[in-house]
């Protein structure tokens, strides 16, 4: 039953509206689309598997089964990280907020009388966190030495080391552990004057700090 073609001709007759705009695609709005995209086709199964990098060996034998009603077409490949969709997965905001609040941490700066709060989950990694801290306490610039990260107050040259208190109550240098582990264990952050930071847990010397 070719309801699809019948429908699309009716619809475009009615409004002249280009249905491709409203077609469901796993891509950010405005992303480029292949010219061969068929307005009413769901993504073919083979594309889904390929894009999701699932068991690649399955694509050929299975492509027939679930594509009876839709012909394979490239409706536009999704970006590597799928765009977040409103309300999906379907978890109530109440619940999301309750669980989310665990990743809010207070940020204190030695010598500054105020505290700020950041939500660690909104950052992808250390770079973004430090950039955000820099913006927040806008007098700092980030200076990177070899494997260390420091924030520097350009006015008086005081160096601050970003440190954090973990779940066990120990104060550690920010950047030592993989990002996700940091997010899970960080209770609060303190920008400590470098001079005071000497007593912290020793850094690992195998120090590649690529922590994404």
């Amino acid at each position: 039953m070719s309801t699809d073609t019948a429908r699309s001709s009716t619809e475009s007759n009615v409004s002249g509206l280009d249905y491709e705009e409203t077609e469901l695609k796993l891509a950010l709005p405005g992303a480029s689309r292949t010219p061969a995209a068929d307005a009413d086709r769901k993504r073919g199964f083979s594309e889904t598997v390929a894009d999701l990098s699932l068991g690649a060996s399955r694509t050929d034998s299975r492509a027939g089964d679930c594509s009876d009603d839709s012909q394979a077409s490239a409706a536009g490949k999704p970006p590597a990280a799928k765009a977040q969709v409103v309300g999906w997965p379907p978890v109530r905001n109440f619940r999301k907020n309750v669980l989310k609040s665990c990743t809010y941490v207070k940020v204190a700066v030695d010598g500054a009388p105020y505290l700020r709060k950041v939500d660690l989950e909104t950052y992808g990694g250390y770079e973004q966190l430090l950039a955000s801290l820099q913006e927040m306490f806008s007098c700092f610039t980030i200076r990177k030495y070899q494997s260390e990260r420091k924030l520097v107050d350009p006015v008086n040259g005081t160096e601050y080391m970003p440190t954090y208190e973990d779940k066990d109550g120990d104060w550690m240098l920010v950047g030592d552990v993989p990002w996700k582990m940091f997010v899970a264990s960080c209770k609060r952050i303190r920008l400590m004057k470098s001079s005071e930071a000497v007593n912290l847990a020793p850094r690992e010397t195998t120090g590649c700090t690529s922590t994404r």
């Binding site: 399955r58 999906w88 109440f94």
Partner: protein
């Protein structure tokens, strides 16, 4: 709240058409002396034994005198959609109601799909009830916008009012609670569950707990875990101390372990306890608190335990003494691992309801399956509610549960990956399933072992679970899955669909095949006008249909609206969008109604 069917509205519509004010007998014979009145009295005495609304609806259709007798004796009023009938009409037909259950927004509002200000305000109902229902005792509201002023009105107008349950509501804050505490002298139940409460500014927070009467109260249930601001603890403790029949207490996370201990000492007879957080406060001295003795005492009566928001896992073993008697346990805000769960769950032989986070993993679920042989309801929520997270529960956990918990009736399961085999397994092992809600968080995700669509798994569920009334599907699904649902899902009342199906056929299978379908909510699926039309014979039997990000056109929706005059067809845009004559319909919400198009629709809602 139950999700039972509501009135058979189509029959109500027929009745409404013949409704005459005053309803007298039209026969030309002189009426026999007394017999009408006698009949009415007898009827009322008999009908009072009918309690369920289905029975009452059936009785009301027999004839006019039964209709009147039933209307006079109905004590509990259930309105599944606040826009299906006008408040004035409801109170005129049923003048002696003592309890009302009222539901507002469609469920997808919970996930941000309904713009703010859409409607479902309680205010017009508050006005109607406060003048017409002087004997009103109980009010259960779900997904309504309730203002502080509404609570003020209700609490001051209804002298017998004793039970207020607000579930997933919004629009009120501590001032509203203060009115209730202060004015409702006979209050027995104040249950505030998952409401989105107003964030009062610090200086506007009202100490509502202190407003309860200073004498002994008749409070049986006080649930306030969703109240964001801290309550006056001393006042709370004093309230609990002077509430001798209090058996359900769920506090908010501001209550510390030390404070919890004091509350438990004041109320050793609790059957339901919500611990709030389950961690120590900042105040010193709390480190010495040992809650285990409190739970030993509580174990004599405690059957339901919840809370644990932001818990310190090391102190979890304190609840062990209460475990053997627990029938209901909610760990769904507690980030615990299988290792932390196991020693607790090992003792929960009587458990019937369990809510957990997926941090417990498949191993945690295996531990549950090994012990909780009487489990009826399981909900596994995602800790990271995003599509591509690691995911710690999978088909392995589902199979384990199905093999261990054969009496399972209701399951809600969030996961990253699933297999058809696991779902088939559950369909065979758990024939008592009434509710099956599987959420594979990755959109369009197929069976991770075979690469196939999830059609066969869900097909097996509808085929083998003969009592199934509620179903939520996910993962990669073709029209075939909907074919199964239409063919076998003869008792399905609620169906939830997201990112599924291939064509209008899918929607047609369901609308033509499921005679009991009441609530259908669909998002991001390729169903268009033809699919929509296939439900025209059925929409009057349904409470509502929601379709968003599908392929509907204004013309198609208009046609449905024209053919079904008692249907309200709402086309909803985003708040900020300008009104243009866009043919594509982004959100459709249609529902049967005796009240016609509502007058309180905001500008972004177009009623066709």
């Amino acid at each position: 709240m139950s999700d039972d069917e509501d009135d058979d509205h189509r029959r109500s519509i027929d009745l409404a058409a013949g409704d005459k004010p005053g309803g007298g007998v039209l026969s030309s014979d002189p009426p026999p002396p007394f017999s009408d009145q006698v009949l009415e009295n007898v009827l009322e005495n008999v009908l009072q034994f009918l309690t369920t609304r289905h029975d009452r609806n059936a009785a009301s259709l027999v004839c006019r005198s039964w209709y009147h007798a039933e209307a006079q004796t109905r004590r509990e009023l259930f309105i599944g959609n606040c826009y299906a009938v006008a408040p004035a009409r409801a109170v005129v037909r049923f003048p002696r109601v003592r309890a009302v259950a009222l539901k507002g927004k469609p469920r997808f509002a919970d996930f941000g799909l309904l713009p703010l200000g859409w409607g479902a305000r309680f205010a017009p109902w508050a006005v109607a009830f406060s003048s017409a229902y002087s004997w009103l005792e109980k009010l259960h509201l779900k997904r309504m916008t309730v203002a502080d002023a509404d609570l003020a009105l209700i609490s001051s107008s209804l002298p017998l009012f004793r039970e207020l349950t607000l579930f997933c509501c919004d629009g009120f804050g501590t001032p509203g609670l203060a009115y209730v505490a202060e004015n409702c002298r006979r209050l027995r139940v104040l249950d505030l569950i998952e409401n989105d409460m107003e964030d009062d500014e610090d200086d506007e927070v009202v100490d509502w707990i202190s407003r309860f009467p200073e004498t002994h109260t008749c409070l049986e249930s006080l649930v306030f875990d969703c109240v964001r601001c801290a309550v006056n603890f001393d006042a709370l403790e004093a309230l609990v101390a002077r509430s001798p029949v209090l058996c359900r207490l769920r506090v908010n996370p501001h209550v510390t372990l030390g404070q919890l201990q004091r509350l438990m000492a004041r109320a050793p007879q609790l059957t339901h306890l919500g611990t709030g957080s389950f961690r120590f406060g900042q105040v010193g001295g709390e480190q010495e608190v040992d809650l285990e003795p409190a739970f030993v005492t509580a174990s004599r009566s405690l059957v339901c335990l919840s809370g644990f928001r932001g818990l310190t896992p090391e102190f979890l073993p304190a609840v062990l003494p209460a475990c053997p008697n627990l029938t209901s346990l909610n760990f769904s805000y507690a980030e615990i691992t299988a290792e932390q769960l196991r020693p607790i769950i090992l003792h929960c032989h009587k458990l019937q309801n369990l809510w957990v986070l997926d941090t417990v993993g498949d191993e945690g679920l295996q531990a549950v399956a090994a012990t909780c042989k009487d489990l009826r309801e399981l909900r596994v929520f995602p800790f990271h509610a995003i599509e591509d997270s690691e995911g710690s529960v999978s088909d392995v956990g589902l199979v384990a549960i199905s093999e261990g918990c054969k009496k399972l009736r209701s399951i809600l399961y969030f996961c990253q990956r699933m297999t058809n085999a696991a779902v088939v397994s559950m369909s065979k092992n758990c024939p008592e399933l009434v509710v099956f809600r599987l959420c594979i968080m990755g959109r369009h995700r197929p069976d991770h072992r075979t690469g196939e669509a999830m059609d066969d798994g869900f097909g097996a569920i509808v085929m083998n679970c003969k009592k199934l009334t509620r179903l939520a599907v996910s993962g990669l699904l073709t029209d075939k899955a909907f074919g199964y649902i239409g063919k076998y899902g003869k008792l399905v009342r609620t169906l939830s669909v997201a990112f599924a199906g291939d064509s209008d056929l899918g929607l047609r299978y369901v609308l033509e095949g499921c005679p009991k379908l009441q609530k259908l909510e669909i998002r991001d699926s390729p169903f268009g006008d033809l699919g929509l039309f296939s439900g025209i014979q059925h929409y009057y039997n349904m409470r509502f249909l929601w379709m968003s990000s599908c392929k509907l056109s204004l013309r198609g929706c208009r046609e449905v609206a024209q053919r079904l005059p008692h249907l309200v067809v709402e086309v909803i845009r985003e708040r900020c969008e300008e009104e243009e004559n866009v043919e594509a319909v982004e959100k459709l919400y249609l529902y049967r109604s005796l009240a016609g198009p509502r007058s309180d629709a905001p500008p972004f809602v177009k009623i066709l």
